[in-house]
């Protein structure tokens, strides 16, 4: 029913056209030429010719698309965040030529010479394009580069070079490096300290110059003497590149073996009681069981949903306690490589775990220090699969064994070799040592250089070693309740002026 009446300026009657244009929103605007047309209309005709020519220039460039110079930078900027080793969403990796040619789980990424049949072009075009995910679409220019590259046969002129800065260990540091991990030999005479990319060994009882053991890790996160004191493990890696562990002979500082694991640093862990394996937390949520024997197989227990910050063996070597950035504390079986039970969920990240044999112990940013009775926590649990196994018989209230709340976030826990004493390092200046049998404080060190990031005890708990973010290391005699400071040092050379500036 169209009337065709004219009411002066405005046509009468609804039509789809007038509805959509005339009543777009609150203000109704008169139809105007598109902005582009109006911009163009202010140009002189010869300027339009310039544009046409410029267009020619840009199409002329299709001559030779270089993978290395033109395609790789696009991948690097827009794609590599997800399609890379370790993440490889959709099974696709672009950081490796072989993988690039192979494609992902949706098939080959491109058909050389046929951009229209290439998955890559389908993904980056369309309205809106599927890729890059959650990002603005590629510019027309970049899409064209990809298209031309495929059309020209998707040749790889040169493999892209990813330059990673080398590990540099200064002879003299400009700033005292933070101490990330410490360990004492069982007899308490030899101290090992990890600072950034090196491990430093020094004697507690004399002033012989510290021995510096270099690594090719950007960051060492964990250093530990084996239970017999004959081996020193240093773990860590380079963030987002690789993880690894190096075994040294503490007597001469020589490397015994080393191993790389995964694509990010490893975190803290512990030697097995027999000293043949070191268990370390990993960034993928797994515990890595790395044998000292370089030829033996590395095993993994995949159980956390985020970084595993610390791992501890039970004295019998059969179970592992782990704490994670996912805020949980878990117990798993070394034999079956399966999770036994998630025994606790903290309100915040777990930084450290330990065990006295009877209890699993964990602590972290939430300042609570808790023990969990293994027997009660694992009662009724059977290993049946990858999950939590059978329904546990007891709830948390029945098995939790709380220590006193700590003054600040707990950064590290250390157990004496005989498992009778537990040392707790926090961001505060106070380091406390507890008896594990009654969870009472035995020793309190009041004026440590805060924040304390690392702590260790020797076999019988008569000596305590601590390391601070300030770079200072202290050794205490903890045989009696009144701890006695034996030694304070910064274990590496530091240029004096700038050290003072900190």
């Amino acid at each position: 029913m169209k009337h065709g009446l004219n009411t002066g300026k405005e046509p009468i009657g609804w039509s789809v056209g007038c509805t959509m244009h005339g009543l777009g929103y609150r203000g109704v605007h008169h139809l105007q030429p598109s902005p582009l047309i109006r911009v163009l209309s202010v140009f002189h005709p010869w300027l339009k010719a310039v544009f046409a020519l410029l267009l020619c220039v840009s199409t002329a460039r299709a001559a030779d698309v270089s993978y290395q110079r033109e395609v790789w930078p696009i991948f690097k900027r827009h794609c590599l965040g997800c399609h890379t080793e370790g993440k490889a969403k959709g099974g696709l990796r672009l950081d490796d030529i072989a993988a690039l040619k192979k494609g992902g789980k949706h098939g080959a990424l491109f058909v050389a010479g046929k951009p229209d049949k290439s998955l890559l072009m389908q993904q980056v075009t369309g309205d809106p394009p599927e890729m890059p995910e959650n990002e603005p679409p590629l510019t027309a220019e970049k899409v064209k580069i990809l298209r031309d590259w495929i059309a020209q046969g998707a040749k790889i002129d040169a493999a892209p070079k990813v330059e990673r800065p080398p590990v540099v260990i200064p002879a003299t540091y400009a700033f005292a490096p933070s101490v990330t991990s410490v360990s004492l030999s069982p007899d308490g005479k030899l101290a090992a300290v990890a600072v950034r990319s090196e491990v430093v060994l020094f004697n507690v009882d004399d002033d012989a110059p510290p021995r510096r053991l270099a690594t090719d890790f950007d960051l060492i996160t964990h250093v530990e003497f084996s239970p017999d004191g004959k081996r020193l493990g240093a773990a860590g890696g380079s963030p987002q590149q690789f993880g690894g562990v190096i075994f040294f002979d503490p007597a001469d500082g020589k490397r015994q073996s080393s191993r790389r694991v995964g694509n990010d640093t490893l975190f803290k862990g512990s030697f097995s009681p027999d000293g043949q394996t070191i268990a370390l937390g990993g960034s993928g949520g797994a515990i890595h069981l790395i044998p000292v024997d370089a030829k033996a197989e590395v095993k993994a227990i995949d159980l956390h949903s985020d970084w595993v910050m610390a791992v501890a063996y039970t004295p019998d070597g059969k179970q592992l306690v782990s704490g994670s950035r996912d805020k949980t504390t878990k117990v798993s079986s070394v034999e079956s490589l399966k999770l036994l039970r998630s025994i606790d969920q903290s309100p915040d990240i777990i930084n450290a775990v330990a065990t006295d044999g009877t209890n699993a112990i964990s602590a972290g940013n939430a300042r609570a220090l808790n023990g969990f009775d293994f027997k009660l926590a694992l009662a009724g649990v059977e290993v049946t699969g990858s999950g939590n196994g059978a329904r546990p018989a007891n709830n948390r209230d029945q098995y939790v064994r709380a220590y006193e709340t700590q003054p600040e976030a707990v950064m590290a826990l250390a157990m004496s070799g005989d498992r009778k004493l537990l040392a707790v390092a926090t961001r505060a200046a106070e380091v406390r040592v507890y008896q594990t049998d009654n969870r009472q404080r035995k020793v309190a060190i009041a004026k440590a250089p805060a924040p304390v990031q690392a702590v260790a005890l020797n076999q019988d708990g008569t000596r305590l070693l601590l390391g601070s973010k300030t770079g200072e290391v202290q050794v205490y005699d903890t045989a009696t309740a009144a701890a006695k400071l034996l030694k304070t040092l910064v274990p590496v050379p530091v240029a004096p002026a700038r050290a003072a500036a900190r």
Binding site: L5, I12, R26, G27, P35, V39, V50, V162, V167, R196
Partner: protein, 816 residues
């Protein structure tokens, strides 16, 4: 081939450059800004912006093409782009040349003996913002990204410092080998980064962060000067189409020092059609019009006005009227923009527009005819005054206030809604000054029986709701963002939010014990003992703080709302009158002077600040008299203009140079339809006989009103009322019963007119008058006659179909 292309390109580039200076000659001095500068930091160079004015009134930026020369390169050097870099202590004079003119800049370099190390707060935090690291979609997300969390848009350096330097054993930075720092490798894209490449190798962001890490990634001393203000230069630009303009952003610190932060500020353009801006503040004009250029630096905003004018082809400015403050400011602005306003709308269109806007229904035929016949010169003023005395005026403006104050049975009891409605109606009827109106509302307590205005508080879910509703309605400000983090587009912080919160936290809403069993029966209690609210950021009590103002010393045990209401409604309050004036303006035009009207921010500046200032001053001087304000607005020529554009104002959609057609609001549309056809609408859930404007709330059954956007009163926002158009509305008009049943009704207008046995001319005129409140043009009469003739002797049917057509036309649904 390549060489030929290169040659061609060079030739073309030369051609373009030679064409760049406009035919319009530079008339004023060449101005290099700043005229003098003192540099105290090797890493903090300062830019120069070089400008001149043309005969045609344009500002031209010569920054990109000027030549710079230093009198002493050993003291200060200037890059070709105009950045002044200190070299050694001393003084130098810079000579700037462009367009055959010269400007001088004096430079003093006073470098400290020891180079100043990079500062986390002054240098690194801006890098995290500029790189986008702390955006809401990235590490600024409340849970961080991939385990790395920064505060949103750099809200809290005290939290970001440990996140960057301390977490997970200093994993993210390496002070001893800076190039290996994870934060750099990720941002550079040298390690896979889901957020993509954020820093360019060797660029400012990379270098700043690298240097800070190499210097030890130190925290700042507590004595570090804090950022006080940020200014943008130039503040106002009149640009030619396609012009480029470099903007300069300068930060001022608490020790008085200045720093050019153009490279780390974040620039955005409010109206993207008009211009675009790059990473370092270079704006390119893309279309005629006007936009704000907004720069953000560390949570502080600076705004510049950017106008793109068409070439001046003999533009004759309109004489600036002196008799009406609205027209004075609008014409002044239009002359600046080389826009001539459209002519005034004719009498019929004016009357319909004013009638719908003031009383919510179009005029009846006898009103139209009488008004057109009136030959007195002040008949429009008289008509406006008459509208304000009509009962429908009370209906219409009570409806608006009912919406804004959210009077609804969704949250209030049935009797409370009617009592509150009556309270509002009484206030509108006696033209209660707006300051008194607001004070009564903001200090009311008890149940509806004690004080109907207490319903205002009973609507709120909690104190947060009250705070957000009251700041939005009475200050036009949205505070919700600032509840959890600093407002992204304004300088509100959590201290501002909880400062206002503390004024309202004494209010508690309880079920009314005197009305047990009545749904939503509430009473508003005030617990005078309540202290200050806790600011979650500091975990400390935040004492009452006026919105964007000071913290008054209040005695314990007083009703804090009274103090807030007194402050809010004082004549010099920066928010109250201004936001109200802007809101009322938006009811008579297609937009507010600031827009949107309930999200007023310094980053969306008024389109005509002198106009808003003058109207606000006038409103306050007239003791917050709403009818006076409406009289000023509606009697302006700006309000009365035709919607037909002329050759200079077609592109203008913001400066009120011509009327922009608006759709009738739901109630006005329905009431006008009822009046036109003579067939009433019955509303379920409301007393019989109520018309649409009189309804108590949105809880009535009316598909028509719902479809045309009547709000449910769940939000204190004009935006809840949908004034848009959609296909369903069109289909409802074409196929629905609202119009069809009415025009075909035995008691409908066509039937009534047919009974009067009018001739074709009279019948057609009556149909036009009832439907569109105007007489038909001669051409329309001719067409209509042809249409009627086609029906033969089915005259009644012809009248019905014809009226159906008229009511379906845009002349009915829109105010032209």
């Amino acid at each position: 081939m390549n060489r030929i292309l290169t040659l061609l390109c060079a030739l073309l580039a030369a051609l373009r450059l030679s064409a760049a200076p406009a035919p319009d000659p530079v008339v004023g001095d060449l101005i290099a800004t700043p005229a003098s500068l003192t540099l105290v930091h090797t890493e903090r160079p300062h830019s120069l912006v070089v400008m001149a004015r043309t005969k045609g009134g344009y500002d031209v930026d010569f920054t990109g093409s000027a030549t710079f020369r230093s009198s002493n390169e050993k003291v200060a050097r200037v890059t070709p782009a105009g950045w002044v870099q200190p070299v050694a202590n001393g003084s130098a004079t810079l000579t700037v040349q462009a367009s055959g003119k010269t400007a001088k800049v004096s430079v003093t370099v006073q470098l400290p003996a020891e180079p100043t190390p990079a500062s986390f707060r002054q240098d690194v935090m801006p890098v995290l913002s500029k790189g986008g690291c702390n955006m809401g979609a990235c590490h600024g997300y409340s849970l961080g990204k991939n385990g790395f969390k920064l505060t949103l848009r750099g809200a809290d350096a005290d939290k970001d410092y440990p996140a960057l330097t301390d977490e997970f054993m200093e994993r993210r930075i390496n002070r001893h080998n800076p190039a290996a720092s994870l934060v750099l490798l990720k941002a550079l894209g040298d390690l896979p980064h889901e957020g993509g490449v954020r820093f360019d190798h060797g660029g400012l962001l990379h270098e700043t962060m690298r240097r800070w890490i190499a210097e030890g990634a130190r925290d700042d001393a507590p004595t570090l000067p804090t950022l006080v203000s940020v200014t943008i230069y130039p503040e106002k630009v009149v640009a030619m189409p396609r012009a480029r303009q470099q903007f300069q952003l300068v930060a001022k610190y608490s020790d008085g020092s200045l720093r050019d932060v153009s490279r780390t500020g974040i620039f955005t353009v409010n109206t993207e059609r008009v211009a675009r801006v790059d990473e370092v503040g270079l704006v390119v004009a893309t279309d005629l019009g006007e936009t704000a250029i907004v720069a953000r630096y560390e949570g502080i905003f600076a705004v510049a006005n950017f106008i793109v004018l068409p070439p001046n082809k003999g533009f004759q400015p309109t004489p600036v009227p002196t008799d009406n403050l609205v027209d004075r400011h609008i014409i002044t602005k239009l002359n600046d923009l080389r826009i001539r306003p459209s002519d005034l709308a004719d009498d019929e269109r004016f009357l319909r527009r004013a009638s719908v806007d003031l009383i919510g229904v179009q005029p009846k035929p006898e009103e139209v005819l009488a008004f057109v016949a009136d030959t007195s010169t002040d008949k429009r003023e008289k008509a406006i005054a008459a509208f304000m005395k009509r009962n429908e005026f009370v209906d219409w403006w009570s409806l608006k206030w009912g919406d804004l104050l959210q009077n609804s049975r969704n949250t209030l009891s049935d009797p409370a809604v009617y009592a509150f409605r009556e309270w509002i109606r009484a206030a509108v009827a006696r033209n209660l000054p707006m300051d008194e109106f607001a004070r009564e509302l903001l200090t009311a307590r008890g149940s509806f029986a004690d004080h109907p205005a207490a319903a205002y508080f009973a609507v709120s879910k909690d104190t947060d709701d009250t705070l957000q509703r009251s700041t939005q309605v009475f200050a036009g400000v949205r505070m919700l963002c600032a509840k959890c983090h600093p407002h992204p587009f304004e300088q509100w912080t959590q201290a501002d939010y909880y400062g206002v919160h503390s004024f309202f936290n004494q209010v508690a809403t309880k079920p009314d014990p005197r009305q047990t069993g009545v749904q939503n029966a509430k009473t508003v209690l005030v617990n005078l003992a309540t202290g200050s609210s806790t600011n979650p950021r500091t975990n400390k009590p935040q004492p009452p703080r006026y919105l964007g103002g000071s913290e008054p010393k209040l005695e314990a045990g007083v009703d804090k709302r009274e103090d807030y209401a007194r402050w809010l409604t004082s004549p010099d309050n920066p928010h109250f009158a201004r936001s109200l004036v802007n809101r009322v303006w938006s009811y008579f035009f297609h937009r507010g002077i600031m827009d949107p009207v309930d999200d007023l921010r310094s980053t969306s500046p008024p389109i005509n600040a002198p106009l808003l200032d003058a109207l606000t001053k006038d409103f306050v001087e007239h003791k917050f008299d709403l009818r006076h304000l409406m009289q000023v607005i509606v009697s302006s020529r700006a309000y009365q203009r035709s919607s037909v554009p002329n050759d200079t104002n077609g592109h203008d959609d913001a400066n009120f140079s011509h009327a922009i057609p608006r759709r009738l609001p739901a109630e006005a549309m329905l009431d006008s339809l009822v009046q036109a056809t003579g067939v009433k609408e019955n509303f379920g859930g409301a007393p019989a006989g109520f018309n649409a404007a009189q309804l108590p709330d949105g809880n009535v059954q009316s598909d028509f009103l719902t479809l045309f956007g009547k709000p449910q009163r769940m939000e204190a926002c004009e935006c809840e009322r949908d004034l848009g158009a959609n296909m369903l509305q069109a289909l409802h008009f074409i196929n629905g019963k609202s119009i069809l049943d009415r025009v075909t009704s035995a008691s409908g207008r066509p039937a009534l007119l047919i009974q009067q046995k009018l001739d074709d001319d009279k019948l057609i005129e009556q149909l036009y008058l009832w439907s569109l409140a105007r007489k038909p043009a001669a051409k329309e009469v001719a067409l209509a006659k042809k249409f009627m003739a086609a029906y033969g002797d089915k005259r009644a049917e012809a009248a019905q179909d014809f009226m159906w057509g008229l009511l379906n036309s845009r002349d009915f649904t829109l105010l032209h």
